[in-house]
Symmetry: C2
DNA sequence: TTTAGCACTCAAAGTAAACGAGTGCTAACA
DNA sequence: TGTTAGCACTCGTTTACTTTGAGTGCTAAA
């Protein structure tokens, strides 16, 4: 168990390192107002803290930097909740006063604000498309050979795919088919669409003419094609401004990791509600081992959950980040609540 | 006017520099098979070429590098058309054998391929949305307060916007309105939509009930909101692999430039058909002064033109790039031709 | 006109010294 | 017994100096 004094010193070290990115020495600690004892005492305490694994040296005669264990402890126990500045709160509030009706618009803007206010990289995961339910299916014939199928979900999400129309199929045939599909599929979760289309509707349509069948085959192929959940990334280039990423190789591999959309999505999806931090090696990807990833969830309607995340170096202003993400996720949630 | 020998030397210098990124010295030139005379002779010729402005020194005793004028001359007069490798052609061909029906899909894939094959950054500008014509307008009511308006254009492009529905307006009112709008607006170029909505349709609807009027106001607001032409960027991080961008400041400002979508779009849009190169200062943006931008157009249907572009350092493999972009733009054009 | 030769230039790589911010340890002190 | 002043030591960083080598321009001879 750490003593009061050790806690104090650990806090000072981490706070200092977070702002300066430089190893913190005993003398500079002892000069702090909050520290009433000498640098020699600090050194003794630091030796203990190091032995306990909370801080490290970069070389034998350097000051100390927080270890991952140190950050973890800091986040779990030492974090003083920070009041956001008037300006920060204002920026977010202003952004959300514009009447926004589009999910994408809100998310894009949120990602932008988050990365702008933090100078880190923001990643926002939309809610699972497949959990939403079909509101309406529409087909717009473009010309003899092709048409566009448009899916609208109960959440207002719109997807569209072009597909081929066999020449034997008339547009009135198409229309009839759409009517049948709509009557059968309204309210069906998208995730079940595939199955329903094969099992129930296929037979139903076979009972009608051959034309339906042909058109249906194409339409089905278009609808079944799955659309991965989208990832919105903001401030990707902010990474370049962090001193820990002056090594281009690191930047490159980090970018490569972020851009693996499906894996990133899986990672973000794995979180449940609330705010969570992954520090350094707590992240599953090699390229993120000197990064921290803060994730928070937002709600879209009742049971649909999306995730906002912030990626930066382990040396992050955790308390400010927490506050910001909290505020932002609340704004997002309440914006969406208005819709559904 | 340059002599044969000067042309030869200039060509060797540029070819060499393009592959090595290192200043080229007289000795290494004289060792080339194509060069039958001594390094001293080469030095004399190089002095002349430098005086003429085609090559430069990085410092007083360095080898030569091509100047922008040199590159320009090279591109205009010295470019030996390059046969693409079997593999390159294959990669492109394979990508286009998949049946693709969506404009976005084709463009995304093209941007991906281009940046992958070149290790540069590709930028693709979609054709002007506003030149396309309205095929159909659809409205899907979501709940009491909101609905989604969906525009489908003759090119198969789909846009959608959510809008508020005043509570007095019933969904059958909406339906009627859509019918009126569709009958009046089908075939109208999107660019004129705004005007038509105000001038003609407004009056028409006013002639009907007040309900229409209210709903219409919201719908109009949603439709009029303009959607900027989209820019698809591929391989943004490839920039980091170029030795000329080991300076992070440069990378950062280049990214900042690329991300100004509207300005980039204007730049790309300004080109007419065919392939064009902007070398160094021929680019309008400061951050691109040591870059070259190659642009080529593709056609979507008959009169709609989009642009594919490739951004790299001035030291680019121009001949390979030309060939690649040629092949790619042809593939894109022919894919699209099939659709419309 | 070409080329061998040579003095000269300058970035880059290597070496050495000085610096200084930091440490751990010891001994004296309250 | 905990705290602190003092001191020797460590090691990364900076600076200044040297060496190296790839390159040049110029001159004079072929």
């Amino acid at each position: 168990m750490l003593t009061e004094r050790q806690l104090l010193i650990l806090q000072v070290i981490i706070d200092d390192f977070i702002t300066t990115a430089q190893p913190v020495g005993s003398r500079s600690i002892s000069k702090k107002d909050a520290i009433t004892f000498s640098s020699a005492t600090v050194r003794n305490e630091m030796a203990d803290l190091e032995e306990l694994g909370f801080i490290e040296k970069t070389h034998s005669s350097s000051g100390r930097i927080p270890s991952e264990k140190g950050y973890r402890f800091y986040v779990d126990h030492l974090l003083s909740p920070l009041r956001l500045s008037q300006q920060e709160v204002g920026t977010i509030r202003d952004a959300f006063t514009d009447k926004m009706m589009e999910f994408e618009q809100v998310v894009q803007k949120s990602a932008g604000i988050l990365s702008e206010l933090t100078n880190y990289t923001s990643i926002i995961l939309g809610p699972e498309v497949f959990e939403t339910k079909l509101k309406q299916l529409q087909i717009v014939p473009l010309n003899q050979q092709s048409a566009i199928a448009i899916l609208v979900t109960n959440t207002g999400h719109v997807e569209h795919r072009a597909f081929n129309v066999p020449s034997e199929v008339s547009s009135s045939d198409l229309e009839k088919m759409v009517n049948i599909l709509n009557s059968r599929l309204q309210g069906v979760p998208l995730i079940q669409l595939h199955e329903k289309l094969y099992k129930e509707i296929g037979d139903l349509l076979k009972a009608h003419t051959e034309q339906y069948d042909k058109a249906f085959a194409y339409l089905r192929a278009a609808l079944v094609e799955e659309q991965p959940t989208k990832l919105y990334i903001g401030g990707k280039t902010n990474i370049l401004m962090q001193p820990e990423f002056k090594d281009l190789d690191k930047v490159r591999s980090l970018y490569a990791t972020i851009e693996k959309e499906s894996e990133m999505a899986d990672l973000l999806r794995s979180d449940d509600e609330g705010i969570r931090v992954r520090i350094g090696h707590e992240n599953p990807f090699d390229a993120m081992q000197n990064c921290s990833l803060i994730t928070a969830s937002y709600r879209l309607g009742n049971d649909q959950i999306g995730t906002i995340a912030l990626l930066g170096p382990t040396r992050m202003e955790y308390n400010r980040m927490f506050s910001l993400m909290n505020v932002l996720s609340k704004h997002m949630t309440s914006t969406f609540r208005g819709w559904y």
